[in-house]
Symmetry: C2
Subunit: 338 residues, 2 copies
């Protein structure tokens, strides 16, 4: 922290109950030793942290902690903690520095590169936010040791996405290593994170602000439906990575029908996700509710939902709308109730 934010005298260490109990004290001691005044701020676990009421609480806590323009917010936790704390940092005093210490596989890959911060609204996920690059991100594989196996698997979905949408060689590597990854072998996980971060950074540097049709839209592969699933279930259903896995399978099916993805490539994606223990089908959600949530997704333009499709493994096309017949078929195949 001292090196990344030389002028800081105070730190707001934002974390949740689980991660805070495991790593909060060591982190606090390390920051103290660096000569910083530390205030630990607890937020709810998981997506519940990303509510506007929690954001308002966090702002008030930053005021009480006396966090000034040159001070720093440290986000120690999963993706939700990073999204919330990063957005609070983006808006506190019109922007202070923040540092990410992601504690889940998903967050190490997904939120550590890109500078997207956000909270949710009842109407949908990540509707409110900022682009605010962290001053630094500390990716520590040891933090994954205490992560439940289901969380690890969900994080692997995000790595599969990076491969499928942007990097065919990463995808092939995942296919070769899927056994070790499914068994949560530390060395394989660490390498997977490193490869995914590198591939993602390549995409993000080409398109920092996510322009319309820019390179970065590829990273939304599987997320159109994934977000809709999460929102339709009030963020109490599958984990983000699990929802994205279902979303990728559906998007691949649509890609076969509408973007020329070979059926064999679609089958390879399915097989890889199966191998990694990621779900095939939705929990029971009414089709109509999913369609409403899709329309609300922030990526839509006017009244059209735009899908990121993959003409081949490792490459995404510019997002585009598809026929409602095709969309309904894909949703039904994913397990939506008619």
């Amino acid at each position: 922290v001292r090196e990344l934010v030389p002028g800081a005298t105070r730190v707001a260490l934002v974390t949740d109950a689980r991660v805070g109990a495991l790593y909060g004290e060591p982190a606090r001691r390390a920051l103290r030793r660096a000569g910083l005044a530390v205030t630990v701020l607890r937020v709810p676990r998981g997506e519940r942290a990303k509510q506007s009421a929690e954001l308002a609480k966090l702002w008030r806590a930053l005021a009480a902690a006396g966090i000034g323009r040159h001070d720093v917010v440290v986000a120690l936790g999963g993706g939700a903690v990073g999204d919330l704390a990063g957005f609070a940092a983006a808006t506190w005093l019109r922007g202070v520095a923040w540092i990410g210490v992601p504690s889940t596989l998903l967050a190490q890959v997904d939120s550590s590169v890109g500078g997207k911060t956000a909270i949710d609204l009842p109407a949908g996920k990540n509707l409110v936010g900022s682009f605010h690059q962290p001053r630094g991100v500390l990716v520590d594989p040891a933090l994954l040791d205490t992560l439940p196996a289901r969380q690890l698997r969900a994080g692997l979905a995000e790595i599969v996405k990076v491969g499928m949408a942007t990097d065919a060689s990463l995808f092939r590597w995942l296919e070769r290593e899927s056994g070790r990854l499914a068994a949560s072998e530390g060395a394989a996980l660490e390498l997977a994170v490193r490869k995914a971060i590198r591939a993602k950074a390549r995409v993000v540097t080409r398109d920092e602000r996510e322009r319309e049709g820019g390179a970065r839209t590829a990273l939304n592969f599987g997320h159109t439906l994934g977000h809709a699933i999460e929102a339709a279930l009030g963020f109490r259903g599958p984990l983000h990575g699990e929802a994205v896995a279902i979303g990728m399978r559906a998007a691949a099916r649509i890609s076969v029908a509408a973007a020329g993805l070979p059926l064999g490539s679609c089958a390879r994606l399915d097989a890889l996700l199966d191998e990694l223990g990621l779900p095939r089908r939705l929990p029971r959600v009414p089709l109509a509710r999913l369609v409403v949530m899709l329309a609300r997704d922030k990526k839509r333009d006017a009244s059209n939902v735009r899908w990121v499709l993959t003409p081949e493994i490792g490459r995404a096309s510019v997002p585009r709308s598809i026929s409602s017949r095709l969309m309904r078929a894909a949703l039904l195949e994913a397990g939506a109730r008619a």
Copy 2:
């Protein structure tokens, strides 16, 4: 709007009850004629709009109105409406376009140039916000016709500030025209707004993000104490411009003692503010409470409050801390209760 935001199909027209009743319908019809779908969103009058609960309501309303990435937020009202609506636009879908239509003299000068957006917290003013330039600002002198005289006078304080801190020739012009300005003569007001915007834009373009010690800090002249007065009275005391007038008088006294401002220049500032009908003394506020609020002001560094001082009319120095003895004396002279 069509020219400034060509891709927009929907507009969220944010306004308050007073301005909305006077100008909401004509504005809505004009936008409709331009082929845009308009949703009018009402917010509370004045500073009460700038609360985190109002921001959360506005976000939900933007979701309900279906405002997409290419759509636009129009802020029709005083400075508070612009600050809130601009911040909502800065954070909605990580940033959509906004257009300001300031309806008070103060907002025409103060919020129309600079791109600062913000809300308040109980701990202080403008603690949370973004830099988010409006796509355009429509300054219409006709909107001032219905403005109460007290509001006009308060707006003139902001123009005096620009002259005192950055432009001696503007200050001298204000001295010459003070009679016509105090009488709310339309032509004089319009010219004053134009001159102040031009002077302010010169400063802002040199320092868009308000760097430490950058040119833009000059524009905080009078605001250190002004904000503290407003916060100490829970934003239910003097108007912003009135608080800034008191803040400028105190800062000028401190400048005489600590920055070499000639006593005669301090007297000229006092005379000009008197002539414009701006207050000399605080409503009764305990000194201790003001000091607490000063320490919380976001411009502070570590535990030092930094004051923008003026060594001469038309020029501000880099903000710096002053002795607590000097600060107490200035606050007591401004009318604080010991």
